[in-house]
Each structure stands twice: as structure tokens, then as C-alpha cells.
């Protein structure tokens, strides 16, 4: 039944070449609302590049992008924002040296007054940011004047997600949001991802962590050297198969063969750490 739905975004045969280097090779994907798409792949596989194409930072060298079935190029981050695509980039998305209330509203400041006396409405901004953070379970935040940098990594991710949700994003793209987080914080971010999905957003989640992917993913795509190597739905593949794919297949097989030979030469004992 999901097959018949029109995806919110679909990309067809998208290729991206950087000065002769093919970072994305004829990739096609569908991104549906109310679903979490996990983008998997080794370092340098092209995940961030794909995301940058979706968020208007890069133009594809060839291929087309459709929004709700209609062809629609995404020429700039502004374009992407207008189409409801909100991206939290790898290692970024927030401004550590800005106050939470300022950072939350960058590019969409609430203002009051008129003309040259149109001022940033700090009171409203502070109230909204505290309310939205509390709603996302970050109860420790009670003051919008706090610097973003004084939040934990997880809280920062949550604030970036809260921002996307607050501004009515239809698609939320997260580039390795759990990479630098501890177990508890990562779990909280994943809960927020599920909450965003429940609210009907399409979520694109890039991760190296198979457990995280399997916890929240409905749909998985694996990139290897810029090409889509696999595309499957929840439950169609086992954890081992996914891990295998992510490592590029051969690497994992090699490692297993190595372990096997080690075991046979050491009376079946696994190697000591």
C-alpha cells in the first residue's frame, strides 16, 4: 500500500561529480512523509553529498528531483527551506556562542516595531524556545539567554530538531545526529526522531550505527562509493546483512575469514583484546 503513495521527495538518477570525482552515481530514492529513511554507508560513501543535494547546497550534475511528483530543482538552501526541507548538518546546525533564543530563530527572527526600529523580539523568542525545548523533554532549559555552547551535545541536537519541527518542516534531514553522543543522549535524540515521524514528518537519518538505524528506520538505503548498493524496508534484512553492506561487503568477509583462521590456529579461542 505504501508503494502507491506519491513520495514527498523523489530523486531519479542523481549524479554529482566534483572535478572528475564521482561522489554520487545515478542514485534514485523516495522519501515519504511519516517515515524514517536511514541512509547508511562507509566514510566517504557520499551520504553528506546526497544530503547537500537535497538541501540545496549542491546542484546535481545530472538527474532530477521531484517534490510531490512534480519536477522541482532545489537551487539554494533558501529554496529547500521554502519546500519544507530542514537540514541539521554534520558537526553543525547550531551556534555555540549565541544565546539559545537567538540561535533558534536565526533567519526567522520574530520582530516588533517598524522600519529602522524593527527590533528582534527577544521576549517572544525566549518564551518560544523554552517552551519548545521543554516539549521535547529538555526540562533543564529554563532560560533562553543561555549560550548554546553550554548545552550538551544531545540537547543541541534536540534544539536543532525542535527548530525544524517548530518552523513546520515537512522533511527533516539529520546528518549523523547521534555520532558524538553518549547512550542516553542518543536514545533521547532517537525518541525525538520517532516523535517527528509520528507528527507526519519525513525523516532522513544518516548514521554509522546499525543499532540506531534499526531502532527507528522504516526504510534503508545503502551507499557504496557513491552508488546505491541496496534499498530495503524494515525487517527485510538482518542486522548482519546490514552491517555487511555498510562495510562494503568484502571488508567484513575478509575480517571474518581472518578471525576464522585465527580461531583454527589457536584451538578455537577468539583473539584476546
Amino acid at each position: 500500500m505504501t508503494e502507491k503513495r506519491i513520495p514527498y521527495i523523489s530523486i531519479e538518477n542523481v549524479t554529482k561529480v566534483f572535478g572528475g570525482y564521482v561522489a554520487l552515481n545515478e542514485v534514485s530514492l523516495e522519501i515519504h512523509q511519516g517515515e524514517v529513511l536511514c541512509l547508511l554507508g562507509d566514510n566517504g560513501a557520499g551520504k553528506s553529498t546526497l544530503i547537500k543535494v537535497l538541501s540545496g547546497f549542491h546542484q546535481p550534475s545530472s538527474g532530477i528531483i521531484r517534490i510531490e511528483g512534480r519536477e522541482q530543482p532545489i537551487r539554494s538552501p533558501r529554496d529547500a527551506a521554502d519546500l519544507g526541507i530542514s537540514t541539521v548538518h554534520q558537526f553543525g546546525g547550531t551556534f555555540p556562542l549565541m544565546t539559545l533564543e537567538r540561535s533558534f530563530f536565526v533567519g526567522r527572527e520574530p520582530t516588533k516595531g517598524w522600519g529602522p526600529f524593527e527590533v528582534f523580539d527577544s521576549k517572544t523568542a525566549g518564551e518560544i524556545v523554552v517552551r519548545e525545548m521543554q516539549a521535547m523533554g529538555i526540562t533543564r532549559v529554563t532560560d533562553g539567554k543561555r549560550l548554546v555552547g553550554s548545552l550538551s551535545g544531545g540537547e543541541r541536537q534536540v534544539s536543532a530538531i525542535a527548530r525544524a519541527v517548530y518552523f513546520g518542516a515537512k522533511v527533516m534531514i539529520l546528518d549523523e545526529p547521534t555520532a558524538a553522543l553518549g547512550v542516553k543522549e542518543a536514545a533521547h535524540v532517537l525518541r525525538i526522531v520517532m516523535e517527528a515521524k509520528r507528527r507526519g514528518l519525513a525523516v532522513v537519518l544518516v548514521t554509522h550505527n546499525v543499532t540506531h538505524a534499526m531502532t527507528v528506520g522504516d526504510h534503508f538505503a545503502v551507499l557504496i562509493h557513491g552508488a546505491k548498493a541496496a534499498d530495503f524496508r524494515r525487517g527485510e534484512k538482518t542486522r548482519e546483512e546490514i552491517t555487511d553492506l555498510m562495510a562494503g561487503g568484502e571488508a567484513m568477509a575478509e575480517l571474518e575469514a581472518e578471525l576464522e583462521s585465527y580461531r583454527s590456529s589457536h584451538d578455537g579461542h577468539p583473539p584476546q583484546r
Partner: protein
């Protein structure tokens, strides 16, 4: 108590301490000359003139860029005004706006090149510094066959830009206050201020958030171009002549004032109030030295040391600021050892 703590965490606090320190230092060693009104006017005038450039430059630096071309733009603005009014004897109503427009235009060009080529602003404005200097020399020689153009400055212009408020206190102080109000207004109260901080914090994220990065960058360079030309014209009004080689010292003076004022060299953090303190500190050191009876060369040593201390303090204060607001744990943390997570955080920044 908590108010005091918040105060010490504001970006301008260290800059204020610096100003207080050099003020007391010269009051002591320059006693009683240093506190005389004429000496006060001396350093306040220097601060006001430098402030016309340092304030707009501080916005450029908070946005994560540098502007090394302020000196050449100062000369270009001054020369344009001087040639039009002094050499061609055209009215000031043409010469004055033309001088300011030329300065703003070269700022625009800086911004345009930085945003279009994505080259580092250090290199772009360095090229502008040399290129424009050559252009100003060439054009001035071609049109006037000299490198110094005298101007019979129009009475109104002379009184507004080059006049004295009281004793030897220059009108430039009023200009400085006006620019300070405008710059503070932009940075603290408008959405553009937010964009400037965001740009200096992380350009990619700012762009992703919908900040028109190109327009903001170009606008900021136009601001520093305008400020430079304004000072150039003010100096013509004060001295009655324009020189092609004028202004180059402001390149580093403005950076010193801004950094001593608490702006991070990497951008994303700082305040105009701090920059005002930084500018005053600079002026006190460079002028106060004359009240001490020491050789004036020593002021460079003091400025160099101050700059170094300022950069170190900025880093410390930034770390303090980042740990602020953690109300429940900050007390405990400050007494206990730094946690590994904090160390990691500090290193990553």
C-alpha cells in the same frame, strides 16, 4: 552575587578591565599630566577617529572576516573629496558624498569578491589594500601631479567634521557616538545582528537557516568602507589636506582595538561596547605615554603585550561564558576538577 557573575561573563567585561588598568597605569606614571583636560582630549580624539573604523570593522570581524584595506580606502575617500573640492574646485555637496561613495564602493567590491570567489577575506582585502593604494597614487599623480592635495575646506563641512566641541575635543567624538549607536543598534536589536553572529559562528549553518550570507557579507564590508572614508574626510577637514599614503596605520590599529575589545578572531562573538573599551584602551596607551616622560616607543611594547593578553583572556572568557547558565552544577564544577567531557568540548572549539 549572581548579577555580578553574569556581569563578569559579558563579552565586554575583560575589555573594561583592560581600559581601567591602562587608565590607572597612566594616571599613576603620568601624574599629574595625564589627567589634564588637554591630554584627555588627546586620547579621546584618537579613540574617536579610530572608532569610526574600528566599530564597523568589528562587525566584519564578528561575522568571521578581516578587512585589511581600511587604510587604502581611507586614502581613497579622502583623496576623492580633496581632488573634487580642492583641485577641481567643485562644491562640497558633490565632493563629500562622492568621497563617502567611493569608500563604500570599494567595501562593496571587497564583499563581492569575498562572496563570489569564496577566497579568504584576508587575501582579498590584502590585495585591495595594495591595489587600491596603487590606484590612488596613480590617479592622484595623473590629475594633480602631486601626492598631497590641499583643500580650502568649506566652512560648514570644516565645522561639522573638523570642528571642536570644547577646548581641543574634536567633533569626531560626536561622529563616533553616532556610529557607536548605529552599530550597537544593528548588532543587539535587529535581526541583522542575529545574522552577523550566525555568520561568524558557522557560515554553513547560517546559510542553511536561510541567512542571505552574500548580502550580509557585502553589507558589512560596505560599512567598513564607509567608516574608513568618513575618517578620511574628517581628517581632510581637520588638517586641510589629503595625502595618498594616509591611513595605513589604521589597518592594524583597528584590529588591535577590536580584539582588545573582546571580539574573537574566529568570529561569532563580541560586542560594540567591548570594542569601544578596546578603542579607548588603544588610545590611552598610544597617547598616555607622552605624559610619562618615557620614550614613546614603549607604547608599542605595551600594545603588543595587551594584544596578547587580550587574546588569551578572550579565550578564557569564552569558556566561562559557555559554562554559564548551568545553574545547578556550575558551583560544584568550579571547585572540582574539569570533567573529561568539558575538556573534550574545549579542545574541539
Amino acid at each position: 552575587m549572581s548579577n555580578l557573575k553574569n556581569l563578569t561573563r559579558r563579552p565586554e567585561f575583560a575589555a573594561f578591565v583592560g581600559t581601567l588598568f591602562v587608565f590607572l597605569f597612566f594616571t599613576y606614571f603620568g601624574w599629574p599630566t595625564f589627567i589634564k583636560p588637554l591630554v584627555t582630549a588627546g586620547w579621546l580624539n584618537v579613540a574617536a577617529e579610530l572608532g569610526l573604523i574600528a566599530l564597523p570593522v568589528s562587525l566584519v570581524m564578528i561575522a568571521g572576516h578581516l578587512d585589511l584595506s581600511v587604510g587604502s580606502i581611507l586614502a581613497a575617500g579622502a583623496m576623492t573629496y580633496a581632488i573634487i573640492t580642492g583641485h577641481f574646485n567643485l562644491p562640497d555637496i558633490i565632493g563629500l558624498p562622492a568621497g563617502l561613495a567611493v569608500g563604500t564602493f570599494f567595501g562593496f567590491l571587497n564583499g563581492l569578491i569575498v562572496t563570489k570567489t569564496k577566497l579568504n577575506s584576508f587575501i582579498v582585502t590584502l590585495a585591495m589594500m595594495f591595489g587600491l593604494r596603487g590606484l590612488v597614487f596613480g590617479i592622484t599623480r595623473l590629475t594633480t601631479s602631486t601626492v598631497l592635495v590641499s583643500v580650502e575646506v568649506n566652512e560648514t563641512v570644516r565645522r561639522t567634521f573638523g570642528g571642536r566641541l570644547y577646548l581641543t575635543f574634536e567633533n569626531a567624538i560626536v561622529l563616533w557616538v553616532i556610529i557607536a549607536i548605529i552599530v550597537s543598534w544593528i548588532l543587539y536589536r535587529t535581526k541583522y545582528g542575529n545574522w552577523i553572529f550566525a555568520l561568524g559562528g558557522d557560515e554553513t549553518s547560517a546559510r542553511a537557516a536561510g541567512v542571505p550570507v552574500e548580502r550580509v557579507t557585502i553589507g558589512l564590508f560596505m560599512g567598513s568602507g564607509f567608516g574608513s572614508a568618513l575618517l578620511g574626510i574628517t581628517q581632510v577637514a581637520l588638517f586641510g589636506s589629503a595625502q595618498v599614503s594616509a591611513g595605513q596605520s589604521y589597518v592594524f590599529f583597528s584590529i588591535i582595538a577590536v580584539v582588545v575589545g573582546g571580539v574573537l578572531l574566529t568570529g561569532g562573538y563580541g560586542s560594540p561596547v567591548g570594542v569601544i573599551f578596546g578603542t579607548v584602551t588603544f588610545a590611552i596607551v598610544s597617547q598616555g605615554i607622552y605624559s610619562t616622560g618615557w620614550d614613546s616607543d614603549w607604547s608599542s611594547l605595551i600594545l603588543g603585550l595587551l594584544l596578547l593578553v587580550a587574546v588569551l583572556t578572550n579565550n578564557t572568557f569564552r569558556r566561562l561564558a559557555l559554562s554559564a547558565g548551568d545553574k545547578k552544577t556550575s558551583e560544584a564544577k568550579s571547585t572540582s576538577r574539569t570533567s573529561p567531557a568539558e575538556l573534550k568540548e574545549a579542545k574541539r572549539d
